[in-house]
């Protein structure tokens, strides 16, 4: 396999120009898919025979929950890359993506809580999924907190990399322990997505909105990373040229 693209991604200059090209593309495609998926799910998918129309919350709940987990996976991998290969872009990625992951976790939490009211009759239930998203949110807040409180940039980069890697290794353990704890304590309730197989008309819009959310968040992440590159590389000539030639 050809790894040149991977090495190129490590170069801020190459990344900046690559993101210039692809971020708008990802944004447009992602936004269209997200809007189509959600509109389809809200207006055209059949109502759930058990939960009625409240299940339509799934079209924002599941994409954001998946994104929250994917972003953390990304943080962990970037942390590993940053510690092992000291690639310049890895800490930039962590800094740019951590707040987005936190926002995704917040959306998943709020939508889960509001969904819980008509489904379980309570705003919050200590369900395994909700609890692990809550913990995920706390992990994100830890990464953001340490990023913001260390003034020395190199130390901050190292610190968030360490915490992300530790988090990546611990995430499966936390998830497993929460699930185990949940089966121990949970009184008999049916879970949000208990049905074995979703019919195609429900599942397709979910897939669309999830993919759309990926594109949307990827585009925003690229812009945030570009901003961070501009902050860090402001002394280099290519940034100067880029800004004076193609700036606003």
């Amino acid at each position: 396999m050809n790894w040149i693209w991977f090495h190129k991604l490590g170069s801020p200059k190459w990344f900046f120009q690559w993101a210039n090209k692809w971020s708008k593309f990802a944004f447009v495609i992602g936004l269209v898919m997200l809007v189509v998926g959600i509109a389809w799910g809200l207006g055209f998918a059949p109502a759930d025979y058990q939960q009625g129309n409240s299940f339509r919350i799934i079209y924002i709940h599941v994409p954001s929950a998946i994104l929250a987990q994917s972003c953390y996976l990304g943080l962990g991998v970037a942390g590993l890359v940053s510690l092992v290969w000291r690639m310049k872009m890895a800490p930039v990625f962590i800094k740019a993506v951590a707040p987005l992951g936190a926002v995704m976790a917040v959306i998943a939490l709020i939508s889960g809580a509001i969904w819980g009211k008509p489904t379980w009759g309570a705003w919050w239930v200590w369900d395994a999924r909700l609890t692990s998203v809550l913990i995920l949110f706390l992990l994100y807040m830890g990464v953001i907190a340490i990023q913001n409180s260390l003034d020395d940039m190199q130390l901050a980069d190292k610190a968030v990399a360490v915490i992300s890697v530790v988090g990546l290794i611990n995430l499966p353990i936390i998830k497993y322990s929460v699930e185990w704890w949940n089966t121990l304590h949970q009184p008999a309730t049916f879970t949000i997505t208990a049905k074995p197989a979703m019919p195609m008309e429900m599942w397709l819009p979910l897939l669309l909105s999830t993919l759309g959310m990926y594109g949307f968040i990827a585009a925003i992440a690229m812009w945030r990373m570009q901003t961070e590159v501009l902050v860090r590389e402001h002394r280099s000539n290519w940034v100067k040229k880029e800004i004076l030639d193609n700036g606003i």
Partner: protein, 220 residues
């Protein structure tokens, strides 16, 4: 400096600063006292909740004591000496941790039977509680070290460290209180103990290296 001279100096340092260990113990006692006062002193509440109360208190006390572990060394420059000493830093971290573990956990384990009476824990359950403490607390210390090493250069690192480390304590707390709860209803609890041991072993391999990376970053 050799590994053994470092080890002896650490033991000496712990004895010179007895107050740190005493503080952790008093903190542990205080947190436990909060529950009967804050929720209910009745046996019906305390007996099933005792395992959770003790474990939460232990987790917080361990975090409090681990937080200051590198502070003194950082301030007087000896942490830098350790980094440039040519010795393998993760091993030094591990030695330091072992000394701390004994200094905090031994008095705590001695105190536990007394406390368990105050929280209405039966003698059979006490045995399980002590087993979970022995198997699970190394993980608390090991994970906490990473946070202590990361925040050592900060003047007010304690809250930050609590924030980033406490989520990682959840599996340990879940499985140890799970073992105690299982023992209380007469179910087998070996599985939970095995998982606790596994978590401690896993953090034993990972966290000294991570702590060493963080120390190097903090010192420079």
């Amino acid at each position: 400096m050799t590994y053994s001279s470092f080890f002896y100096s650490e033991i000496l340092a712990i004895f010179r600063r007895k107050q740190d260990a005493v503080n952790a113990l008093v903190f542990f006692l205080l947190v436990i006292t909060l529950f009967p006062l804050g929720v209910s002193p009745s046996k019906e509440f305390l007996q099933p909740a005792a395992g959770g109360i003790i474990w939460c208190a232990v987790a917080l006390a361990v975090l409090m004591s681990v937080e200051g572990m590198f502070k003194e060394d950082y301030n007087d420059g000896s942490l830098e000496q350790l980094v440039v000493s040519g010795l393998y830093l993760p091993v030094l971290v591990l030695l330091k941790l072992a000394v701390h573990w004994f200094a905090i956990m031994l008095p705590l384990l001695v105190l536990t039977p007394i406390l368990s009476q105050m929280l209405f824990i039966n003698w059979e359950i006490l045995w399980v509680l002590i087993l979970t403490l022995i198997l699970g607390s190394p993980a608390l210390f090991l994970i906490g070290t990473i946070g202590a090493a990361l925040t050592v250069s900060l003047r007010r690192g304690a809250v930050l460290m609590l924030l980033i480390i406490l989520p990682f304590y959840l599996p340990v707390i879940i499985f140890s209180t799970g073992a105690i709860a299982a023992a209380q209803v007469g179910q087998p609890y070996n599985g939970q103990l095995a998982i606790l041991g596994a978590i401690s072993l896993m953090t034993l391999t990972l966290s000294p290296i991570m702590a060493a990376v963080s120390i190097k970053a903090s010192v420079n």
